[in-house]
């Protein structure tokens, strides 16, 4: 081979350089070892020599020889395969193992030292992640609980609730309550129906051996109940429990309340001093994740033969209670729906045709009731699938926030590790290993954080349960897939959180890093600020959401409802017997100077439950429409301070009134098409009993502000009727000693009835309509606070990092005469800029999401004022300033001598 140095001057081709380049190319293939390379080089040189010997130029010879390697890309693969067809692992042999167990301790040590070295950062990292994870876990527990409703029944997928769409006079409603008459007809005519259970709710007075107990949520039901629903029996069994009339099934709690024990089979309980029941079974308390709760069951047969009950349960027109149907295996509910329509037509079609109404039955799956039911009159309070979605989203957001924080801080911190990375690379560590190392550290931190998170969840669960009105236990975190999910979450968080720093740092070039001028983290400031903006945007959306939820609830609670809800005491008179001769009681009560007007009525604002079809005199039956209905005595309007805008109030001075006349609200007057001219016209629930409308009431809210005001009629009832209907005794209290007045009323009540004194104040009662909104508001507040906390931790970490980064700059500025205040402002300014940007992004988003998806549920809503948004903006800036300021000031007041001396 000729000496290449000789040709260097005049010939541009340098064989040695060409070979070196060629070797370099091959060296980049990890599978080709140094030995292989030497061998290949030898080959190449010999070939070139031969070719040169044949008269080719060095350049041509090299090209020819090299061209043999044209498929050289595949060469590495060939080597790799040659060595790897047997044995384990896909690792090219030229490479050290990805994971050396011997280094495990070393990595752990480094990770631990890092934690110790940067205590503040580590704390922020771990605390932020822990709080984020804890919030996430709490929400997941909540979501899991919401989703678990009614799924514990063995036949859950075959159980349906009978639902009904009803259309009367053009107004349609979808109801969870249905006529009891329908169920036996469906069971008899539709083969898919296996069995059914009708549920009629009662609140009887139970007498056990002379002791009296007020019971609530006792249901009268069919023997099919236990064929449908799965309950655990302590005593007795499902076959016999409800088989015969007079059977009583108690829950464990009720059994203990009545008897002090659960071993009470065959014991006798008297209801309402009317009939005796025999305990046939004791079951465990109803699980909290059931869409309805009960304290006891009575066989419906006990009362079914009484004339007044029979009249109700055999009438297709009487919406009576709830019906549950068990379908046979693989039965199609839609097919059943069609058959139900046919059966309805057969049994009740004639009546429907006459009245021009519609009645459609369909089946709502049991597992949909809690979250997806949109029916009126559900048996218990239900949840809302939208909240499940929203909360899951919030959980995801908080987790993302915490992860971003983690990434952000870890990346910022990477500056300090540039040298470590450089050194490791120089010592032969490959990029994959570095990535693994950083990921490992981050997963380790995530695991640490999750341990803390679980502890946090354990500590906060009781208050969370109070807040969310749940009974979630930490043990549900352990059950089934939850542990796996948790482990997955940790891994995900760790990998997500560690991915950016891992990829970012592992790409450092050792030569540059070791010189010490890369990885000061400044270059990546823009990326990190985007993350901060993102975090704050989310926090701002949550904050704005919280405030809007609160402003809406406050709006609903403080809005003028059109009646005087202050200081009205309402006694729930559950005892019909006690109501007989109620006139005497009211007279008695009025003797107390602190009691003003007193009225007996079947409904009070916030609790108007009955709806009846209103017929109008001189108008065809097709125009009849359903209206909310209340019966009252003469003083309803006076007691509640309702304004009469046309006509007059009920009056004792009109003898004709006592036969039963009507007051209607404006909406009803409009609905009737008479407007204010309705006064003097006659309407009635029955076409053969038409009565005069004596006055029109100004519209007032008698239901939640979630819905619009609907037609309402109030009928003056004769005393005898009133005793039957009027459940509520309302008393307008004068200013004075309210507790004393309350005690007085209680005494008077006790003189008349054995039933307990059950009372509420009208305003509280009305506010209670918004408990769910308030509850949601509180939960969101809690999580918004957590999100803000996490975001602030992130900001704090970055601010202190930035301050540290700029130590020298600050020193120089100070030496050159910058003021401390000016410096602090300089440092804070940048962060505030980001937060402002976050506001600009977050506020419109919040406005859009909330007004579109939440506020639209309310018929009466407060437009989210500019004030709320200003407040959020101000608050976020204030919090950000507070977070950043401390760091900025600390940096600003530092002695420049210290910062400049330090090298």
């Amino acid at each position: 081979m000729s000496d290449p140095s000789k040709e260097k001057k005049n010939v541009p081709f340098d064989l040695e350089q060409a070979i070196a380049r060629w070797l370099k190319l091959l060296r980049s293939k990890p599978a080709i070892q140094d030995g292989d390379l030497a061998e290949l080089e030898g080959y190449l040189r010999e070939k070139i020599e031969d070719l040169v010997g044949q008269g080719l130029s060095e350049e041509a010879a090299f090209k020819a020889a090299e061209s043999e390697f044209a498929p050289g890309e595949a060469l590495g693969d060939d080597y790799f395969r040659a060595r790897n067809t047997s044995g384990f692992g896909g690792r090219p042999p030229g490479q050290p193992p990805r994971f050396l167990p011997a280094l495990l301790w070393h990595y752990a040590k480094i990770a631990f030292r890092k934690l110790q070295r940067q205590r503040a950062y580590s704390f922020i990292n771990v605390a932020g992640l822990a709080v984020g994870l804890a919030a996430c876990l709490l929400i997941l527990l909540w979501v899991k609980d919401e989703l678990s409703y009614d799924r514990y029944h063995e036949k859950a997928n075959r159980i349906y609730q009978l639902a009904m769409s009803e259309e009367i006079g053009g107004a349609s409603s979808e109801l969870a309550v249905t006529p009891f008459a329908s169920a036996p007809a469906f069971a008899a005519e539709i083969p898919e129906v296996e069995t059914y259970a009708r549920l009629l709710r009662g609140s009887p007075l139970a007498v056990v051996e002379g002791r009296k107990f007020d019971l609530t949520d006792i249901y009268f039901t069919d023997p099919g109940f236990f064929d449908i629903f799965s309950h655990a029996f302590l005593e007795g069994n499902g076959q016999t429990a409800l088989a015969s009339p007079g059977a009583l099934v108690l829950t464990e709690e009720t059994a203990r309340k009545l008897f002090g024990q659960t071993d009470v089979l065959g014991r006798t309980v008297n209801f309402n001093n009317d009939y005796n029941l025999k305990v046939t079974a004791v079951i465990k308390n109803v699980p909290t994740n059931s869409h309805f709760q009960f304290n006891g069951l009575v066989s419906l047969g006990t009362v079914a033969n009484r004339a007044e009950i029979r009249e109700v349960i055999e009438d297709w027109s009487r919406v009576t209670g709830w019906v549950y149907i068990l379908l046979k295996d693989r039965a199609d509910p839609r097919a059943v729906k069609a058959k139900m329509a046919a059966v309805t037509l057969k049994y009740y079609g004639e009546n429907l045709r006459q009245s021009g109404s519609k009645m459609d039955f369909w089946l709502q799956p049991l597992t949909d009731i809690h979250l997806r039911s949109r029916l009126e009159g559900e048996i218990g309070s239900t949840g809302d699938i939208r909240y499940v979605y929203v909360f899951s989203l919030i959980a995801a957001f908080i987790l993302v926030l915490a992860c971003i924080n983690f990434m952000n801080l870890a990346t910022a911190r990477s500056a300090g590790r540039g040298k470590e990375v450089g050194l490791r690379k120089v010592m032969g560590v490959r990029r994959g290993n570095l990535i693994l190392q950083f990921m490992g550290e981050s997963v380790l931190l995530a695991a640490l954080a999750s341990v803390i998170a679980v502890v946090l969840v354990g500590l906060t669960l009781p208050s969370f349960n109070r807040l969310a009105e749940k009974t979630i236990s930490l043990s549900s975190l352990v059950g089934g897939g939850s542990i796996l999910a948790l482990a997955g979450l940790i891994l995900l968080t760790g990998v997500l959180g560690g991915s950016y720093p891992a990829l970012f740092m592992s790409a450092f070039k050792p030569a540059v890093v070791l010189k010490g001028n890369v990885g000061r983290g400044v270059k990546r400031a823009s990326f990190r600020s985007i993350l901060v903006v993102f975090q704050f945007s989310i926090s701002i959306v949550l904050m704005a959401g919280t405030l809007i939820v609160f402003s809406q609830t406050r709006f609903m609670k403080t809005r003028d409802l059109g009646f005087d809800k202050e200081q009205v005491l309402v006694v729930n008179t559950r005892d019909a017997a006690a109501r007989r001769g109620a006139e005497a009681l009211t007279g008695n009560l009025k003797s107390n100077a602190n009691i003003g007007e007193v009225t007996l009525s079947s409904g009070v604002p916030g609790r108007v439950y009955s709806m009846l079809v209103i017929n109008m005199e001189g108008r065809p039956e097709q125009e009849s429409f359903p209206a909310w209905t209340a019966w009252s005595d003469f003083d309803f309007v006076k007691t509640y301070g309702i304004t009469i805008i046309r006509g007059r109030d009920f009056s004792r001075s009109f003898t004709s009134d006592s036969g039963g006349v009507f007051l209607i609200n404006e909406t009803a007057a409009r609905r009737m098409g008479w407007g204010l001219e309705a006064v003097g016209r006659r309407i009635g629930f029955d076409t053969d009993d038409m009565r005069e409308i004596v006055g029109i009431m100004k519209d007032f809210h008698y239901h939640s502000l979630k819905g619009p005001i609907e037609p309402l009629v109030v009928r003056l009832s004769p005393a005898a009727d009133l005793a039957r209907h009027a459940q509520f005794l309302s008393l307008k209290l004068q200013k004075g000693d309210i507790p004393a007045t309350l005690a007085f009323v209680k005494d008077k009540w006790a003189e008349r009835s054995e039933r307990g004194f059950d009372f509420f104040f009208a305003d509280e009662n009305f506010d209670a309509l918004y408990w769910r909104e308030e509850q949601i508001g509180k939960i969101i507040t809690a999580f918004a606070a957590m999100a803000v906390f996490v975001a602030c931790l992130g900001l704090f970490g970055l601010a202190s990092f930035a301050a540290e980064q700029r130590t020298k700059e600050i020193g120089v500025r100070k030496v050159l005469g910058a003021s401390e205040a000016g410096l602090a402002a300089l440092l804070s300014k940048e962060f505030l800029k980001w937060v402002l940007l976050a506001n600009a992004l977050g506020l419109p988003t919040a406005y859009f999401i909330i007004s579109r998806y939440w506020l639209s549920n309310f018929a009466y809503r407060s437009a989210p004022g500019i004030l709320i948004f200003l407040l959020v903006a101000g608050l976020s800036l204030f919090i950000a300033l507070l977070t950043v300021c401390g760091q900025a000031i600390r940096a600003a007041v530092a002695n420049p001598v210290d910062s400049l001396r330090y090298e």
Partner: protein, 113 residues
Amino acid sequence: MLSKTLVAASTKPLVLTILRNGENYGYQIIQSVRRISGGRLEWSEPMLYPLLQRMEKDGLIKSKWKITGNKRLRKYYRLTEKGIKEQEKEKAQWSMINEIFGQVLNPAITPEG
């Protein structure tokens, strides 16, 4: 030109056979093949070296670095005991295939003949 599959299948037995004549190194092996085949069989080293690696790993051949006269490193390969056995086995198999081909192609001993 020989089909790719056949080249691939024959490479190993040929290398074994060449090495049966004594230790050799990569470049020389390729040259020998070309010479013996009269240029009909062209091996490239990207295909040979990984094969050598593989065979060494399977224990058929052993390699040894040697410094040649012009101070160049060369890796020499020689057969191991196992390699010799393998070579004999391969040789027998190829002979058999060859024989079968001969019989099939020779009309004298076809069934019709």
